[in-house]
C-alpha cells in the first residue's frame, strides 16, 4: 500500500524558538471571533535544483485551504505584497518586517523548496511580525508526492504555534463509499484528496472508527452473512473478525485508552450496548432494556457513554455511567435524536435530529443545557464526528438529490464545505487522531 511507503522525514532542525508565545494568542474554542491577519508568501525555489512551480502551487493551495478552513486567519491579499515577498530571505534579519506591518499583517509565512534526485525539501518559517521573532521553523523532506502531506503538517504546526493546540489537518478521514456500487471502507485526507479503498468485501461495510493508539480501524461488514465487527490494520492490511455474535455487531467505538470497544450486540434478541475487549470477549453489558439501544460514544475521560434509545418512545440520547450503569436522559427536544458523538474536549455532544424528514446537526452540553443547532436548510446532515482537537465536525449530507457526500465545518457551524468527490455516495465519516 502506498501509505506504507511514505518515507517522510520531519526534521526539526530549525525549531529554535518553538514555544514562544505569540503576541496575539487566541482562544481555540471560539473560531471566527478573533482572527489573526496573516500573510502567506509564495514558496520560492532555493539552492540547487530547478524550479518546479507546480509543486509550489500545490503546496500553497493545500496550506491556504487548511488555514482558511480553520477560520482563525484573515489572509493578507497577495496582490498587496511588497518587495519582501519575492525575496527568499528566510532568516529573521533578512526580512523587512516593516513592509508587512504596513500591510497590517501580524504573522508571516515564508518558505523555500528544492527538488534534488526526487527528494523534495521544503523549508518553512512562521514569524511574528510585531515582535519580529521566529515562531516556528521547519524543514520537511519527502518525495514529490508528499507535498500535500507536508502542507497539512505545517498547517497543524502553525495552529500549534499560534493557539497552543495542534491542528487536525494531517490526520485521515475514514468513510464509507458506494463508488464501486457496493459500500466499502475508504480513507482520505482531511481536504478530501487522495481517497484510497481499504476493503474489498463486495457486501455492505458500515460505520468505521479509528483506534486512538494504533493505526487500526474497526467497522461492521455483512461479508459473512451476518453484521459482524471487523478490525483492520491500516498499513499491513491485515483483517480479522472481532465480534461475530449472532445478530447485530454494530457501531463499534474504541474507548479513549484504546483498550475496550463499546458496541451494540443483539445476541439476546434485543439490541443492547456492551463493552468488549480488543480480543472480542465481552467485558460488560451496559444497558438492559427491551427498547432499542444503539450508537454508543465515549466521553473523553472514558467514564460515560452516550447512546441512542427509544426507551421513552422516540429515539433520544441517553448517557450511561460506565461504572454505576446509571442511565439519564440527555435530549428532550425534537422527536428523533440520533448518532451522538462526544466532543474530545468533553464539554459538548454533537448529534443529528430529524424534523420533517430532514436531519440537522446539533450540539448540547453534557448536562443537557445550551442546545444549539449548527446546520440548517435542505439536505439531511447525519453522523457528525469531531476532529481530534474539537475544532471541526464532519458529517454526511445528502443535499444532492439523495447522494450523500462528506462535509466539514467548524464546531460553531460556520465554514461548512463539501470535501468528498462527486458521485461517491459517501457516508459515515470518522476523523483519525493525529497521524
Amino acid at each position: 500500500m502506498k501509505y506504507c511507503k511514505i518515507s517522510f522525514l520531519l526534521i526539526i532542525t530549525l525549531c529554535l524558538i518553538c514555544s514562544v508565545a505569540f503576541a496575539a494568542r487566541i482562544e481555540i474554542s471560539a473560531p471566527g471571533e478573533q482572527t489573526i491577519p496573516l500573510a502567506m508568501t509564495n514558496l520560492l525555489p532555493m539552492g540547487v535544483g530547478g524550479a518546479q512551480p507546480a509543486v509550489a502551487t500545490e503546496f500553497q493551495e493545500v496550506l491556504l485551504g487548511d488555514l482558511q478552513l480553520s477560520g482563525l486567519f484573515d489572509m493578507t491579499d497577495p496582490a498587496a505584497f511588497l518587495s519582501d515577498a519575492d525575496r527568499l530571505g528566510l532568516r529573521r534579519t533578512e526580512i523587512d518586517f516593516y513592509q508587512w506591518r504596513m500591510l497590517g499583517s501580524e504573522a508571516l509565512i515564508k518558505g523555500g523548496y528544492s527538488v534534488t534526485a526526487g527528494t523534495l525539501t521544503i523549508e518553512l518559517r512562521l514569524f511574528d511580525v510585531i515582535t519580529q521573532r521566529l515562531l516556528t521553523g521547519r524543514r520537511y523532506k519527502g518525495k514529490l508526492t508528499d507535498v500535500r502531506k507536508i502542507a497539512h503538517t505545517f498547517a497543524d504546526q502553525i495552529l500549534k504555534s499560534l493557539t497552543g493546540e495542534k491542528g487536525p489537518f494531517s490526520a485521515k478521514i475514514a468513510f464509507i463509499s458506494k463508488r464501486t456500487g457496493r459500500k466499502e471502507l475508504y480513507m482520505m485526507d482531511v481536504d478530501g484528496h487522495q481517497p484510497i479503498r481499504m476493503t474489498d468485501h463486495r457486501s455492505i461495510v458500515l460505520n468505521p472508527d479509528f483506534s486512538p493508539t494504533r493505526k487500526e480501524l474497526i467497522f461492521t461488514s455483512y461479508s459473512k452473512g451476518n453484521p459482524d465487527l471487523y478490525r483492520k490494520e491500516i498499513y499491513t492490511g491485515r483483517e480479522s473478525r472481532l465480534s461475530l455474535k449472532q445478530g447485530l455487531n454494530i457501531g463499534g467505538r474504541y474507548s479513549p485508552d484504546g483498550r475496550e470497544i463499546a458496541l451494540t450486540l443483539s445476541k439476546d434478541k434485543n439490541s443492547e450496548i456492551y463493552l468488549i475487549g480488543t480480543d472480542g470477549t465481552i467485558h460488560r453489558r451496559l444497558t438492559n432494556h427491551y427498547g432499542i439501544d444503539v450508537d454508543p460514544t465515549w466521553s473523553p475521560r472514558g467514564d460515560k457513554i452516550a447512546f441512542v434509545s427509544d426507551r421513552r418512545g422516540n429515539p433520544n440520547i441517553f448517557i450511561v455511567d460506565v461504572h454505576t450503569l446509571e442511565v439519564r436522559r440527555l435530549t428532550y427536544q425534537g422527536k428523533y435524536n440520533a448518532t451522538p458523538a462526544w466532543g474530545p474536549k468533553g464539554d459538548r455532544i454533537a448529534y443529528s435530529r430529524m424534523d420533517n424528514g430532514v436531519f440537522n446537526v446539533f450540539t448540547i452540553r453534557e448536562d443537557g443545557t445550551d442546545e444549539r443547532q449548527l446546520t440548517f436548510g435542505k439536505g439531511s446532515k447525519e453522523h457528525p464526528r469531531w476532529s481530534p482537537d474539537g475544532r471541526f465536525l464532519i458529517y454526511s449530507n445528502d443535499l444532492n438529490g439523495g447522494e450523500k457526500s462528506i462535509w466539514i465545518m467548524r464546531a460553531d457551524g460556520t465554514g461548512a464545505k463539501k470535501i468528498s468527490a462527486v458521485g461517491g455516495n459517501d457516508s459515515h465519516p470518522a476523523w483519525s487522531d493525529h497521524w
Binding site: K183, I204, L206, N207, Y222, G225, N226, P227, G247, L248, I250, G251, T264, S266, K269, N270, S271, I292, D293, V294, D295, V308, D310, N314, P315, Y336, A338, T339, S352, M354, G357, E382, H383, G402, S427, H428
Partner: protein, 189 residues
C-alpha cells in the same frame, strides 16, 4: 385523463389480486388432497383403472404416491407464496394487514415442513443507520414470533436485519418509504 389512469390502476390491482388469489389456492389445496387421497384411491382403484391420462396435473398424481413430491410442491408453493409484510414508520408492531398475511404464510410454512426461511427486516431511509439496523431486527423478530405463535417451529426461522441498506424502491417518496419498511422471506433448503 388522470382519473382514467387511476381507475385503470385500481382495476389492474383488483385483477392482480384476483389472479394471485387464484394462483395461491391450488397450492393450499394440494395438501388437503394429499391427506384424503390415499383413502379415496384405495376405494376407487379397482373400479377406475381404465382412465389414467390426467395429464393436466401430473405433479398431483405423483404426489398422491410420493411424499417427497408433495413436500417439493409445498416447498415450491412456500418459495413462491410467502408474502412480505409492511410496517408503519419507526414501528415494529404488526399491523392487522401484516398479521393476516402472516396467517397465510404460516399455512404455507406448516405445509412445507422441510423449508427453512430467513426473515429479513428492512427500514426506510429516514432515520439513523444503526437505529434502523436495530429496528429492522425488531421487525424481523416480531414477524418470527408471530409465526411461532401460529405453529411454525422457531428453529426453522432465522432473522437478519439490513436496516436501510437494501431498499426495494430508492425513490424518496411516501410510497417508496412504505414499500421499504418491510419484513420479507427467503427460502433456504
Amino acid at each position: 385523463m388522470q382519473k382514467l389512469t387511476i381507475t385503470g390502476v385500481v382495476i389492474l390491482f383488483a385483477l392482480s389480486l384476483l389472479v394471485s388469489g387464484c394462483a395461491k389456492k391450488p397450492a393450499v389445496e394440494t395438501s388437503e388432497v394429499q391427506e384424503t387421497s390415499q383413502v379415496e384411491m384405495q376405494q376407487e382403484e379397482p373400479a377406475g383403472v381404465t382412465d389414467t391420462k390426467i395429464e393436466d396435473k401430473p405433479a398431483y398424481d405423483a404426489a398422491a404416491y410420493d411424499a417427497a413430491g408433495v413436500a417439493a410442491a409445498a416447498e415450491r408453493a412456500a418459495a413462491k407464496g410467502l408474502k412480505r409484510i409492511h410496517f408503519d414508520f419507526d414501528q415494529y408492531v404488526l399491523t392487522a394487514e401484516a398479521k393476516s398475511i402472516l396467517v397465510s404464510n404460516a399455512g404455507l410454512l406448516r405445509a412445507a415442513a422441510a423449508v427453512k426461511v430467513l426473515i429479513e427486516g428492512h427500514c426506510d431511509e429516514r432515520g439513523s443507520d444503526e437505529y434502523n439496523l436495530a429496528l429492522g431486527e425488531k421487525r424481523a423478530l416480531a414477524t418470527k414470533n408471530y409465526l411461532v405463535s401460529l405453529g411454525v417451529a422457531a428453529e426453522r426461522m432465522n432473522v437478519i436485519s439490513y436496516g436501510e441498506e437494501m431498499p426495494i424502491d430508492p425513490a424518496r417518496t411516501k410510497q417508496a418509504w412504505a414499500k421499504n419498511r418491510r419484513a420479507n422471506f427467503k427460502v433456504k433448503r
